[in-house]
């Protein structure tokens, strides 16, 4: 029997590194909610963390992010250009990788594969959002990045259960979600939701994490969940290691995309996901 949900919830709350998102993200979130905050205020808080500044500028100037046709050389410029919410999402996108680090040697490759898929899905979510003129493509980038976050929690906090799950997948040739239900009685989407609630993420992002395998169940966030669901299918279709999940018809209809758009989107995804992995998760 794997770790039960209550124990996991207790563990998530107790872990220092997971107890809050990086301090700076919390600060930025608070500041954004304060109507008195100016772009200069926000930039000055971010500027105190030099490593963060370097990462933010690198991503803002990378071809896949395309924040501006001009070079973004300062955080003040980046904040003015991107707006508050996109800046907050970008802070999260570059900080998330540092939260998870103590891994067993035997799971290192799995972890790398996990982040590659997450980044690919983030890029795919953003590409779809832009193609359907969704209002907030940066939030969709974050939703795609976090859609499988429960898996990395499992890898880090319950590695023995995770290995059991992998064995079940391989011996029975069933999906990760079914194997998790068998070993744990719950799945990475439940774990991800727990973390999202604990981190106080937006309900839309939490819905994307919770429902990306079953978009029909989405009510308030049907559009967002449909974007991440479709992004996940497109990402898996370009990767080599997993079977492709079926694209849900309701999700596809919700996006209202023409079938002709698939080819340019997949080509763009192939190119930009490689660039995004190189920028966000470089080989050490």
């Amino acid at each position: 029997m794997g770790m039960d949900k209550d124990t996991l919830w207790y563990k998530i709350k107790k872990m220092n590194s997971l107890s809050t998102l990086p301090e700076i993200y919390d600060r930025v979130s608070d500041m954004i909610n304060d109507p008195k905050t100016s772009a200069a205020n926000l930039a000055s808080v971010i500027s105190r963390d030099e490593t963060l500044v370097a990462k933010l500028l690198r991503v803002a100037n990378s071809p896949f992010y395309k924040a501006s046709p001009e070079k973004v050389t300062s955080i003040t410029f980046a904040v003015a250009l991107l707006g508050f919410n996109a800046t907050k999402n970008l802070v999260l996108s570059v900080s998330i990788f540092d939260l998870f680090h103590t891994f067993e040697e035997s799971l290192k490759l799995t972890v790398r594969g996990f982040w590659k898929h997450s980044i690919t899905c983030a890029v795919a979510s953003k590409i779809i959002a832009q193609n359907i003129r969704y209002k907030n493509p940066e939030e969709m980038f974050v939703s795609g990045l976090l859609h499988d976050i429960g898996k990395i929690v499992e890898i880090q906090y319950m590695p023995e259960d995770f290995k059991k799950i992998i064995n079940v997948i391989n011996s029975k040739e069933i999906s990760m979600k079914d194997a998790e239900e068998e070993v744990l009685k719950y799945s990475h989407t439940d774990v991800g939701k727990m973390l999202g609630v604990h981190w106080n993420l937006s309900p839309r992002i939490i819905d994307c994490v919770r429902l990306h395998h079953i978009p029909d169940k989405a009510i308030d966030s049907l559009m967002e969940v449909s974007i991440v669901h479709t992004a996940n299918v497109l990402s898996h279709s370009l990767e080599l290691d997993y079977k492709v999940p079926i694209l849900n018809e309701k999700a596809w209809e919700t996006l209202n995309l023409k079938i002709d758009m698939l080819e340019p989107m997949l080509k763009q995804l192939k190119k930009e996901s490689i660039e995004a992995v190189a920028v966000l998760f470089p080989k050490k």
Binding site: S237, L240, K243, V244, I246, L247, W252, L266, K270
Partner: protein, 119 residues
């Protein structure tokens, strides 16, 4: 005539086809004899390859190499994609379209890799 890469171009060669910029503006006419000046133009517009008279195409040489390996490699891509999509019903037209596109992308990127490998 044949398509050759810029670093293999020498003064005196004659253009077999006109050269256009990436935005479509005519840079050099067909039949133009290449001097240092023309090479400078090509370089500054970042043109990667041009068509010249009387030279065996570097691309056709590459193609000969890729043809030898192609069957085996195409089979490999085919098999990989069949496995990936094995649980998808064949009458799901949307997924079959994705499958077709992914296959084309894989083939294209393999050819690209090879071109770089040989170049």
């Amino acid at each position: 005539m044949g398509l050759i890469e810029l670093d293999k171009i020498e003064p005196g060669m004659v253009l077999a086809k006109p050269v256009y910029s990436h935005l479509g503006a005519l840079l050099l006419k067909e039949g133009k004899k290449l001097t240092e000046r023309e090479l400078l133009i090509l370089e500054s517009w970042k043109i990667k390859e041009i068509d010249v008279e009387g030279v065996e195409s570097s691309e056709s040489k590459d193609k000969a190499v890729s043809d030898q390996l192609e069957k085996e490699e195409l089979d490999k891509i085919e098999a990989e994609i069949e496995t990936k999509f094995s649980s998808i019903p064949k009458d799901n037209s949307l997924m079959m379209e994705i499958k077709k596109i992914v296959k084309a992308i894989k083939v294209e990127s393999l050819l690209e890799e090879k071109k770089h490998g040989n170049g």
